[in-house]
Assembly symmetry: C2
Homo-oligomer: 427 residues x 2
Amino acid sequence: MKSWVESAAVENCHFPIQNLPFGVFSTKALSPRCCTAIGDYVVDLAALEEAGLINAGGDKPVFDQPALNAFMGLGKTAWDGVRAQLTDLLKDGGNPALKGNDALKEAAFIPMDAAAMHLPFTVSEYTDFYAGRQHAFNVGTMFRGPENALPPNWLHIPIGYNGRASTVIVSGTAVRRPMGQLKGPNDTAPRFGPCARLDIELEMGAVVGLPTEMGEPISVQEADDLIFGYVLLNDWSARDIQAWEYQPLGPFQAKAFATSISPWVVSKAALEPFRTSTPEREKELLPYLAEPGPMLYDIELEVSMLPNGGDKATTIARTNYNNMYYSAAQQLAHHASSGCKMNTGDLLGSGTISGPEKTQYGSLLEISWGGKEPLTLDSGETRTFIEDGDTMTLTGWAQGDGYRIGFGECTGSILPALVNKFPRAEK
Amino acid sequence: MKSWVESAAVENCHFPIQNLPFGVFSTKALSPRCCTAIGDYVVDLAALEEAGLINAGGDKPVFDQPALNAFMGLGKTAWDGVRAQLTDLLKDGGNPALKGNDALKEAAFIPMDAAAMHLPFTVSEYTDFYAGRQHAFNVGTMFRGPENALPPNWLHIPIGYNGRASTVIVSGTAVRRPMGQLKGPNDTAPRFGPCARLDIELEMGAVVGLPTEMGEPISVQEADDLIFGYVLLNDWSARDIQAWEYQPLGPFQAKAFATSISPWVVSKAALEPFRTSTPEREKELLPYLAEPGPMLYDIELEVSMLPNGGDKATTIARTNYNNMYYSAAQQLAHHASSGCKMNTGDLLGSGTISGPEKTQYGSLLEISWGGKEPLTLDSGETRTFIEDGDTMTLTGWAQGDGYRIGFGECTGSILPALVNKFPRAEK
């Protein structure tokens, strides 16, 4: 299938007609509203809805809002219906109502570089998991040695913790280096200062489209049906703050300062051809976590680092979402297993995605092995963790036959810590 | 100061004119809206606002809404202004505009037993702390022995973790016993079944009224200024689920199924005469946590248990909020220290409040010492943890000279687990 939008057919384009992701954009003239992407264009869904070319089936418009939540809350019939309508409007030989309407095309097609992208949905609550086997093994080995690397529950439970929704930000938003309590292994007392071990975590985020009832568990299949789509997710992490604070109740301020996501939510429908199974179970799972079919996706992922003042980014990791031990559907089913109510707009981070090779590690903690093995960038500079002014970028796509379902980018640059905002802090 | 509302002067009444807490109620005739309490009455603030007797100073009404968030977001001038207006309207010899208006009194005064109370504010995010010295020592002793009871960071950091806002419920809402993964110390593998060690945690909740900016830390004084008021809070806990899941990232499903709060938010202004200092520091705190003055409150607290089918509740714990090692203002300052954005409607649980004596412990885990020392109720029945049909009730008040600033009750009864909703679960 081809689109009449020529830029959608360019090789390796992230936004061919098979993708049609959802986002929120604005321009100088247009307030934030919902959109899709095709080729080099953002397409204003509020304009198409107002013109009567798409209809999500609800009792009022949903795309004139600055978040996808209203659309997401309408459920699968609406999601699939709008996707079918858009496909018909944008494909060669389809419904000519858009292609043949120059005024509407002029209004609804915005060149990507003229659009500002916003957080695509209001994040209700954010949960981060720890479901990558290699990542858990790597981190566990560094902290506890290879014999005790995996916690005893790890092969039974998709381990997760609640994160902070208030600091989930859209790609492109700069990230302030956090301050926090720090205590090295040889320090006699903690001090308060800027994080010195600032890191990324390469993750995918699952976006919950439909809610559950409080007190009501769901099966893995039901959980999969509630998921609207997926985003790229960077769970920025302050390793030194984390090391001192995390016992006994888990990460808190080390993860609270920022989590970046891609502006595009790729729908489950677009990813359907790329479903793949979780790896063979090392221990049998309890029945409530049984997967009725393939629930992971084959999504290629890359991380690049552009050093402060540099002009060329270095790719520092290449991996694949299919490395995860648990799927988002399993995580969501576990999340609701106690009766925890899940809501439209909940965001579930997959956990760091690392493959078995060092070039496939999804965090600097692993790549530099706790800071002991500095990484050399193409410019010749070295890094253990992230320095001020560095820019970290995630990208990813599912590779189809002659097309890519792309996620665009999830990028962020680091601003220096506000040391002077803490007049009583040690520097 | 006395009110012309006679029931407000009854001895030990929780709602004298000095209190004037805020909540949300409805009746068969009235949709949910904001209210205060005096004596035996709920007072409809939307009616007073519409009649022009109170004005929060914003550009539109705030009390005709089903949550206090709009009012809370207006800040201290609005909070204090409305309190002063209500005091003047309700005190003996004050503004006669309400006392002298029979039609308005008839409309705005609703007997408490005719009002249904709702969650008083939309909970943006919920964070639970672990800031009671005795509780942390007790739990640590049970799990790690008395020498290692307190984690090394405990005297330096107000330890907290993010909880789940979606299951914060108002007092009176029944709580479904959760299902979850369970693994006893002698089990070779986990199983999935109903929680057998269901517990309460007696806490106070601090309600954040004003937001912070992402990336911007705040001082303890600034944090205190952002707090709108306090509620009673019961952090229902599944101890057996928690024991198996919590390493290494903290409590998750063990705490996700329900958190109950009192329907009344007692304002900081009402609690002002009861300020008291945190206890002497065992280790000097870092300057960013320094308190410029007394930031705790002298609030007497009680827990009672009504066994299934019983007709008389037994008081099982009596303690005081002044036992906390860290104040809510310190917790909030720490929460924002990394740049984590705090929002109107964020709820901070104090952590379990236990005094030094066994009769002062704020959880059944501590009272029954891990289930080893059953508690005998007045009826002669014994309990280690909570059984189906049991009702747990928290209450609390600050004792003034001739009056009480009461929080009312925070109560909940336990419904049996939905074992049959998990067709594949072991029973």
